[in-house]
Symmetry: C2
Subunit: 356 residues, 2 copies
Amino acid sequence: MTKLKNDRFLRALRREAVDRTPVWIMRQAGRYLPEYREIRKQAGSFMNLCTNPELACEVTMQPLRRFDLDAAILFSDILTIPDAMGLGLYFSEGEGPKFKRTVRSASDVAALPRPDPGDSLAYVVNAVSRIHRELDNTIPLIGFSGSPWTLATYMVEGGPSKSYSKVKGLMYEQPSTAHALLSKLADSVTDYLNAQIEAGAQAVQIFDSWGGILSHDKYIPFSLDYMQRIVSGLNAGPDGEQVPVILFSKGCNGHLEAMADSGCQALGIDWTLSLNEARSRVGERVAIQGNLDPAVLQASPDVIRRQVQAALESFGRGHGHVFNLGHGITPDVKPEHLGALVEAVAELSPAFHDRA
Amino acid sequence: MTKLKNDRFLRALRREAVDRTPVWIMRQAGRYLPEYREIRKQAGSFMNLCTNPELACEVTMQPLRRFDLDAAILFSDILTIPDAMGLGLYFSEGEGPKFKRTVRSASDVAALPRPDPGDSLAYVVNAVSRIHRELDNTIPLIGFSGSPWTLATYMVEGGPSKSYSKVKGLMYEQPSTAHALLSKLADSVTDYLNAQIEAGAQAVQIFDSWGGILSHDKYIPFSLDYMQRIVSGLNAGPDGEQVPVILFSKGCNGHLEAMADSGCQALGIDWTLSLNEARSRVGERVAIQGNLDPAVLQASPDVIRRQVQAALESFGRGHGHVFNLGHGITPDVKPEHLGALVEAVAELSPAFHDRA
């Protein structure tokens, strides 16, 4: 293992001292970049882009050429596992991801295979290897997966939903079928993330995009418990060190303490909680990633800079903070505005670290 | 004033003793009822239904003929005020409410009139009078409005949004324009609710459907402060008594204590917080309304009954609880399932009250 030139992100996840707060941005490789839209057009469809390791690698690298980011993140989709289970993922313009087949009964669940990442998900593993090689030990690469609960919502509903009536109906009416599905998904996600780690991912993030729709008494048994099982099933990296895991349960601020006890190294939080409150609630257990409102990037560079300063002050001095938005960057953002954010973090954050 | 035959709902809002927990359901007059769909078809469009006091009264009464509910709620839309301001509300199938004109600058805000409820909103006031007469002092009538922030999101975006980039962009970049808009809306909502109270509404609910998209430091100055201004500007009812106000800020559980100090009588909460925790956080300040996950109604009557019991136990013994869902009932619910919920509340809740 050659040492990383910039390991600020991994150090922050381990709550070690850093010279400045590391920064990366959810969906940093995405539609707000004209060079992304160009490649996306060439690919013909979003899935063609995801399944072509060369193109997936290219779009992963694009934001790194523009901005001084402290981590790269694999370009892929959260729904690759259900697709590899045979549900037939497709994207219909303006309606988001959809599945040709849904999962709504115990026999549907029993029929689902546990995908072999070396086979039906090889395109993702190959993309990870290629990106890792291309990064050439400059900055770490983040792998990722959707959480079991989040994957289950799409598999049962057949696509995005307003009310999630079908997946929640299954949970209330046939809890054992819901648990069988989540259990199979947890095993599959574990295999998938282990394959990404083996191929070179130096940290992984679990996106629990729909954990926040669960009622107070259902979030832990139907979402967090399965993420915890994944965390405990992950292998060490090629250097023998534990690979840090970031849990991002959108809209689950009420469960922060339980999440911090899941064995993960960091929690991603959205902008509805202050960094200060998040830090005081999780204490020394985990690092915190976030949490600027992506809409701040609609404003002018001075406003962005003031909001970055406010976020840094909210977290306060010391380690364990990874700067990010509280959700993905939106397609309507001007790339220079993200540039203003990244520069502001680089310039303003050393004052919050002893190693400055 | 003739006394109400059933004042359980108003007593619970005032945290007075009751024989059993009162229950009503958000969107109880709605698409899950075949008789509603029939009238909606006759009306031709949703707006035709809202603007016709006779039909609006008829659909308000429909759920009361099926279920033993403790309150009626005016059938209307939250966007009547921006429509009365001249923005041109319309509904496009599958896309939700839209406006022909948007509000995006200081001059757009300055040009907005403060609607006279007796004029451009007379159809709502007339519907309230008619429903109040039709109810004949059996149960109380709830009037309502959208919150200033929630109305502003639609007015600036021009319709529903995923990221709310435009309205939040305005808030971050031109906060004084955003405040001017919210201030005008707060005055208009106050006039509107006072007209509903004068016409017979015995309680009012403010729907802050999009308060939860605001960051931790923006919710109070951009949403709650304006709702508080409305609360303090409301007139007493015809009997000289204060008309109870319910604030329902979806996804704002982090701000419950501040909401409880706003001068309102009750807080509506969603299912992501337990009734027990909500009650212990607000103490004796306000009543709590909620909070069953609407998806529970997808399950069978026994499951519904067990979930009702669990909610009653979570709130515990004593007064100050109004049973409701944590959000509106969805169109895919079987009416008999709502019947099971209402019956379960009637049968199981007396055990939690001393006057049983």
